[in-house]
């Protein structure tokens, strides 16, 4: 039972240790790597337990469910925590070879760990206000990581990032307050059984829309995404990789959670709205990427278009579609982090991510080129990689529901994604290095292992998900089943109590 608290407790405790080890960078590094590995082990154990034993619940401080704060791990939460752990290991290893001494001195490792604790807390909590608190924990750490280093671009991007996220938090907080005032509960399971009552029918849609906007800002959906392409290319690549993989997905997770558990009474209104937003998000993201000529900026815009796919599944709201969403999130976190890590290596080699001054990487680093192709093709949805299956499931679900327009948009966006990826390939890897471009440096052995190792690892996972799609799909379907049947969640948290 205590397993549930560990994905939060391990990074939090490790970050406290790094505070006491301010002088010793070596100790901070080892704490970072070891705690990430420990989190991975614990998350896989948790996933196994949820898989075999159903939804796990922890009542913090032994306060019974509707009164105290509960931690709940259903299959979606467990999957998210596990993927987070995988990515955090990759990032921990990469930071060994890529983060500069100044940032390490100012507590880089500690802040990463606090952020991971916040992310895991948000995935695992079963209490709405507690979700707000975890959001603030992860935001605060991400604010610091975004601006750590004080470069002008970082400060400017950070300002936009901070402003929009604080607005979103204020909106979320107000929504939580209104919901509590109406129903007298903050426990998500109890809320799920209360919001359907007719006396709340006036306030619940209002709160639903407030949450849609609040989480929408965090998830970077249309038209609330402007902070993302303005800020994600400014911090060091490894920080951007972690952000790209995880932070928007916490917003998507929150949307999935509240719009399956709480706000599904008037699905014709809320979920149709989500489908429309999903279509527009996909399109604007991919078109924005087409205009960019910097690797990380192209990838940032692609995050937005991919978020569209994830909430498309939520909007279509059939078991297959929600399973597609879950599959997509798992695939996306790994692939997107990996692409940002590749982008980081390219920037390290050439000192720039601008496609104009890049070239010849296929000849000079064939290994890197191969490692780029795997996540890039997966992102575009080329079979048999993981992206193909996630898109296939969503499009199949769209066709089953005869949502032709949005399915068409999804297919078109997929094609345009391939265009963007081939653009990076042709410009950075294939064409010869332009004259007058900055001189290429080479990687030391240490950098080679710490930078390319995690990329190779994540690429292997992408291939594994692609070739062994069956078990992942089974997990995603079961997660979707649990999401679409709130009774199971309510039963697990509140048990026999009314």
């Amino acid at each position: 039972m205590n397993l549930l608290i560990l994905p939060v407790l391990i990074p939090l405790a490790a970050s406290i240790i790094t505070l006491f080890a301010r002088r010793s960078i070596a100790l901070q590094r080892s704490v970072h790597v070891v705690s990430s590995l420990a989190s991975l082990a614990v998350s896989v154990l948790l996933l196994g337990r949820v898989w075999s034993g159903g939804i796990q619940v922890l009542e913090v401080g032994s306060w019974p469910a509707p009164f105290g704060i509960t931690f709940v791990a259903d299959l979606l939460s467990a999957l998210m925590v596990s993927v987070t752990a995988v990515v955090s290991v990759a990032v921990a290893v990469t930071s060994l070879g890529s983060i500069d001494a100044a940032r390490e001195k100012f507590g880089y490792h500690g802040f990463i760990l606090v952020m991971l604790a916040g992310v895991n807390g948000a995935f695992l909590t079963g209490d709405l206000f507690n979700l707000y608190v975890w959001f603030e924990v992860l935001l605060m750490a991400s604010f610091v990581l975004m601006t750590l280093g004080n470069e002008r671009g970082q400060l400017e991007g950070g300002m936009k990032y901070v402003t929009l996220n604080l607005m979103s938090s204020a909106l979320f907080l107000a929504g939580v307050g209104l919901l509590y005032a109406a129903t007298g509960s903050l426990n998500m399971a109890e809320l799920a059984s209360l919001v359907g009552r007719p006396e709340h029918s006036a306030i619940v849609p209002v709160v639903a829309m407030m949450f849609l906007v609040a989480f929408g800002i965090k998830a970077a959906i249309f038209p609330l995404f402007f902070w993302l392409p303005a800020s994600y290319h400014t911090p060091p690549p490894v920080i951007a990789a972690l952000f790209a993989g995880l932070l928007t997905k916490v917003g998507v997770y929150a949307l999935l959670r509240v719009f399956t558990l709480l706000f599904h009474q008037e699905a014709w209104l809320t979920h149709t709205t989500i489908v429309v937003i999903a279509g527009l998000t996909m399109l604007t993201g991919v078109l924005g990427a087409a205009a960019q000529t910097d690797i990380r900026r192209i990838l940032s815009f692609h995050i937005i278009s991919q978020i569209g796919y994830m909430i498309l599944g939520l909007g279509l709201f059939s078991p297959l579609a929600v399973a597609g969403s879950v599959f997509y999130i798992v695939h996306h976190i790994i692939v997107k982090t990996n692409l940002f890590l590749v982008g980081g290596v390219v920037e390290r080699l050439h000192g720039t991510g601008s496609l104009k001054s890049l070239g010849g990487l296929y000849r000079s680093s064939p290994l890197l080129a191969g490692l780029f192709l795997i996540p890039a093709l997966s992102l575009a949805g080329v079979p048999p990689l993981s992206g193909f299956w996630s898109k296939f499931i969503l499009i199949k679900a769209g066709l089953d529901l005869e949502a032709m327009l949005v399915t068409g948009v999804a297919l078109l966006v997929s094609l345009l994604t391939l265009f963007s990826m081939t653009k990076i390939w042709a410009e950075a890897f294939w064409k010869p290095l332009p004259e007058g471009a900055p001189v290429r440096r080479s990687l030391t052995t240490w950098e080679r292992w710490t930078l390319l190792g995690p990329i190779a690892g994540l690429a292997l996972i992408t291939i594994a998900i692609g070739l062994g799609a069956e078990p992942v799909f089974a997990a995603a379907s079961r997660a979707a089943e649990q999401l679409l049947d709130p009774q199971g969640y309510i039963q697990a948290v509140l048990g026999g109590r009314p």
Binding site: L155, G157, L171, T234
Partner: protein, 127 residues
Amino acid sequence: MHLLLAILVGILYACGLYLMMRRSMLKLVIGLGLLGHAANLLIFTAGRVVPGAVPLIPEGMTTPSGPIADPVPQALILTAIVIGFGVQAFAILLVRRLAERTRTDDVRELTTTEQLETQTGTGKGAS
């Protein structure tokens, strides 16, 4: 009392949003602070203000007699105020750093991270 508080919440939201739409970064941060206060006061008001009724259950009973002040909204607000304090301290410091760095208080000049390369000509700009 409720009406007065409700109007106050509205005024706070209006002022906060107005300040956020100004071009000055400092006003932007003050506006964000006001939005946070408005949300806190909204929770306080929506949680029903019951003056002078302590939430204590008399001895020998399992439920309180008569209406009591709900302690939960106040606990929520307290948490939110503490978080808001920390976040605002960070935001103020960020604005200060940014003003030192860019020598401007105008948010419309903060565009270097969004320009396309064709516009700047130099690629990644300051970073």
